[in-house]
Symmetry: C2
Subunit: 337 residues, 2 copies
């Protein structure tokens, strides 16, 4: 059944029935002109990010579930990157008239699984039709006792990341070549796809998973020590440059300390890129990148130090190379996904 | 110059420079992972609405300025419809790679004029490219001492609207026939277009203006008396039905009391529709529809009463006809814009 056979009002009623909830701090949820919440006294965080068909996802190799899940994850990641706790979400969905009810249900299941994972509740949004391309966005609202800007890094601070870099970009490369949807879901490993150029499914799976179903990283365990933070959405170098620019400092990172997954090491031989390339510039890993004073014990991966102004990568043989921002840019001239 | 020749980072920097501001309640504005505001103790209102090319606007007869202005207006209207004061906005913009810098500048000028009109400040958002269709959305945040739901109407309450109904829908009909952009802007009446089927520009202008450049109505002057409120975005009958459904009541409205502009009366003869039709079901007027107890003196147009359950229109000769929701629905089977 197509959404055009159901009608907006029925779809809204359906969403409202599924997601209705009572909470004393939410005075008005779904179903009125706007939502009303009773804000608590802490800092209120708001972020809003889009996912557009043909730009952020390709329906040939992404399932509706994965679009929904990722839409929440990328927005929650922005709240985490400020040191916040996500609480509420508003969804803007523009689906095509011939979008099926099945597509819609799968999409909403991805949203729901992510909402449960991050303890976030739906309080509003907008539903529209679209002619040619699906366009979605989410606004996530959260709170923070202590929020962390990009501008707090000081010379001498150590630079940390929370996990492997480049996995998502390699996952995307694999998907572009296989052009197949892989039904990875939360708690579901996905059906095995045929070994890719002789590499086993076990090797490929973590890369593809990081691209299709990224889970945002909570900063809770190191938040009290961190001085600046960002999530790596556009690539390590571009996002580190953002911290450097905002903090008016430099950075030195060590290539051999960049965490590269065993899967990426195996797969990189078969793709054009060198191992390092996409771990430095590949986007959408949604790991956190943050800085903390050197005397603090921090449970994350140490990749370098903040300097006064110099911005360099120290290669595996000790040679230093200056780095410039490099990563994904919309309307970018060099790189398009 | 195309946006693809400028690049995302330069565009973001440009936006940040233009819209940067200092306010003690905004701890982090544009340029970090999320915005941080220090909420005050009142009720916090949040709303988020989209405008998608080919659905909400047609570039053949809408200027970029008007898209930007209207995007803000429709979101501010939702805050007003809850009795709130709008304060902040986050913008999500997906433009095509070949979108020109001129288009972008005009769009942002429409946004800016609306921001100034409503005293709203830009605190964040997301910029993306799009392949085939421009897709935009805004999230507006505001506060309310007293907020008004759709569910507060009681039998005996009077029903009011804040202005002419149907103007926007007739304006759209005219634009569909003339297929011309009309450069109406805030404080600018627009160049005259050639008389339309013998009707003068002076007659057409208010209709076209209401469609292209709707100004959201503030409820300030009657807020203290109102019991339920909604903005008329989808048509009087559909939006009145929403109040009735949420309040679990009926309504009686009088056809002769529906405010119809002199322009609409003149133009309706030349279009297929009867005068009444689009004033009852035409969307996008963004007038407020609200209820208030009969003993309260209210400065707005009285169009009927809330009943226990009966939902009727009283015709010009006193005949009553039941009404059902009728207006614009996305994924609607009967009506598509």
């Amino acid at each position: 059944m197509k959404l055009s056979q159901i009608g907006e009002l029925c779809i809204l009623e359906y969403i409202r029935n599924i997601f209705d909830f009572k909470a004393k701090e939410v005075l008005v949820g779904i179903g009125d002109d706007s939502s009303v919440i009773m804000p608590n006294k802490r800092n209120l965080l708001v972020t809003s990010d889009m996912m557009v068909e043909g730009i952020h996802f390709d329906l040939r190799f992404v399932t509706p579930y994965q679009i929904g899940f990722k839409l929440l994850s990328v927005n929650v990641s922005d709240i985490f990157a400020m040191g916040g706790t996500p609480c509420y979400v508003l969804l803007n969905l523009a689906f095509k008239r011939n979008t099926t009810k099945e597509f819609f249900d799968l999409f909403m299941r991805g949203i729901t699984d992510a909402m449960n994972l991050y303890h976030v509740r739906l309080i509003g949004g907008d539903l529209s039709s679209a002619r040619k391309e699906i366009s979605t966005s989410a606004t996530v609202i959260g709170y923070a006792d202590k929020y962390l800007k990009r501008s707090g890094a000081r010379p001498g601070d150590r630079i940390y990341v929370t996990g492997y870099l480049g996995d998502s970009a390699y996952g995307l490369e694999i998907l572009k070549k296989t052009k197949k949807r892989i039904h990875i879901e939360l708690g579901l490993r996905g059906e095995k796809i045929k070994a890719f150029r002789g590499i086993s499914w076990n090797t490929i799976a973590p890369l593809v998973r990081r691209h299709l179903l990224p889970e945002a990283r909570s900063p809770k365990k190191f938040l009290k020590h961190a001085t600046a933070m960002i999530d790596i959405s556009d690539g390590l170098l571009i996002d580190l440059t953002r911290i450097c620019n905002e903090s008016k400092v430099g950075a030195r990172i060590y290539l051999k300390q960049i965490p590269v997954s065993p899967s990426l090491k195996k797969v990189s031989r078969y793709l054009k890129n060198k191992t390092g390339d996409l771990s430095l510039s590949g986007g959408e890993d949604y790991e956190l990148l943050f800085t903390a004073p050197p005397q603090k014990k921090v449970n994350a991966i140490h990749i370098g130090e903040i300097t006064v102004s110099q911005r360099v990568i120290v290669g595996n043989r000790g040679r230093t190379m200056p780095f410039k921002e490099e990563g994904y840019q919309h309307f970018g001239i060099k790189r398009e996904k």
